[in-house]
Symmetry: C2
């Protein structure tokens, strides 16, 4: 009989109800959700006021989302859920480049550039030359791979966080030897958006909102699994406390500063500049 | 070292981070949330597409909320969380009236009526006379208790779901003998709002969205715990499958139909009418 539930019997009642899902995967997800959600509630025994605060938090998180901001992805990121899902979905064979979170700042259909171009747009700061190769697990170069890159500016902001044209955001293609390169400006460590519910959560948890400096890469080639990763700046003060838990040693590289002189692509630089390189392996 | 997490080590890393919450209760809730949330993800192993569907579901749930609609409360209700929280917070002494969910349709500061008034406003349908008493656990009447009532109309809709003045919604006070009474129209079983994300979830779970007919009561008196409950209609076809799991035998009563004649308050009724009564006990 489906009534008279108490705090011990209600979970079985809800499980029985969600078990009627026609799709087996939906049934599996529904049952697991109810078991774990009820176990959480049973453990913390929220007061009615705490339950209402939870409802309010989730409501405000949804209402903070728009076409430029995704507060629920940020919540997933800051609770380590995004990296957990990433790890589960990328039990990679030895040798493939390690993956990390997509993050909330990727934009579909980035502007296309030729290799060697400067993609920094309105961004200012130290010039950064980025060079890379894309290869298979056995080291064979992959020609014509699609390389999407995006990164923050020297103040830690993304182009989509303010009005204006795309900047620090591009789609490139590898050459016959699997190589790509471009110029941009060196990104800085930055706080994730923390003027919303997730920022309030971080403050209540005694956590800073910073990510170490990085450039995002999404690399796609036919016959290979699309790679979503970052390359982090060696020495950054936040490498060991990334607010979204995304750092792995294998995807840290020096963003090396150089005095004025000849850059890797032959450009003669009249001011200081930096270089970064990474060789990606796709499975 | 806070990096290089895999699907097995990330949970400990996030737990270590949320353990820095200054407030012990916030720390306890944060740690429990991370443990149970990660356990859920580890069990179902969502694909990236399923994770994205979950983000989208939560976002749409938040964005469906406004001053008249609370989709996250509806989600909590339909997953049995609201009744679980209710049960945890009302481990009642023997003799107190059983509690159930507040639901999403309560409005602060309802219109005040004298006992005996008709509160149905623009609602039409079979007239219903509701009579009740409010007493302590030992049966002593409680005078001047604040009795808030709200209910759906004969089509199953609440006043706040359409334009117009409050209807089927009132604040009354008990007399010196702890009694109250009022006239309204008999409510019907009804579906919870199911044109949003929660409705989609119910459909995917193979569940109907109905609640059995009921009148909501919130009864407050100094020195007593405020009682939030419903009185359900005996014989309703949804008593055993209430979509929010709120039914208990002790709060079911007949909504008895009568031929034209003299009603309990002495009114002479020219048409058929119904009566309902309940004696509430506050702890």
């Amino acid at each position: 009989m489906m009534r008279n539930f108490d705090e011990f019997t209600i979970t079985e009642a809800v499980l029985e109800r969600v078990a009627s899902a026609p799709d087996p995967r939906m049934r599996q997800i529904g049952e697991a959700l109810v078991r774990h959600l009820h176990a959480f509630v049973r453990e913390v025994e929220p007061t009615q006021a705490e339950w209402a605060a939870g409802i309010d938090f989730l409501t405000r998180t949804g209402q903070m989302c728009d076409d430029k901001r995704q507060e629920f992805i940020l919540l997933s990121d800051t609770l380590g859920v995004s990296m957990l899902v990433d790890a589960i979905n990328h039990r990679r064979p030895e040798g493939a480049t390690e993956t990390t979170v997509l993050g909330p700042f990727y934009v579909q259909g980035p502007p296309e550039f030729e290799c060697g171009a400067d993609i920094s747009g309105a961004m200012t700061g130290l010039k950064l030359h980025v060079a890379g190769t894309v290869a298979t697990l056995d080291g064979s170069p992959i020609a014509d791979a699609v390389v999407d890159v995006w990164h923050a500016d020297a103040e830690g902001g993304y182009d989509v966080q303010r009005p204006g044209d795309p900047a620090g955001r591009a789609r490139l293609r590898t050459d016959a030897a699997g190589r790509f390169q471009f110029w941009t400006t060196r990104p800085c460590s930055y706080p994730v958006p923390h003027d919303g519910p997730v920022g309030q959560m971080l403050a209540l948890q005694g956590r800073h909102p910073y990510r170490p400096a990085h450039v995002h890469f999404m690399i796609a080639a036919p016959g290979h699994e699309t790679l979503v990763t970052h390359v982090f700046a060696a020495g950054d003060e936040y490498l060991d406390s990334d607010v979204v838990f995304g750092v792995k040693d294998s995807i840290i590289r020096p963003y090396t500063e150089h005095p004025p002189g000849t850059a890797p692509d032959g450009s003669v630089m009249g001011e200081r500049y930096a270089t970064l390189s990474y060789d990606f392996r796709l499975k």
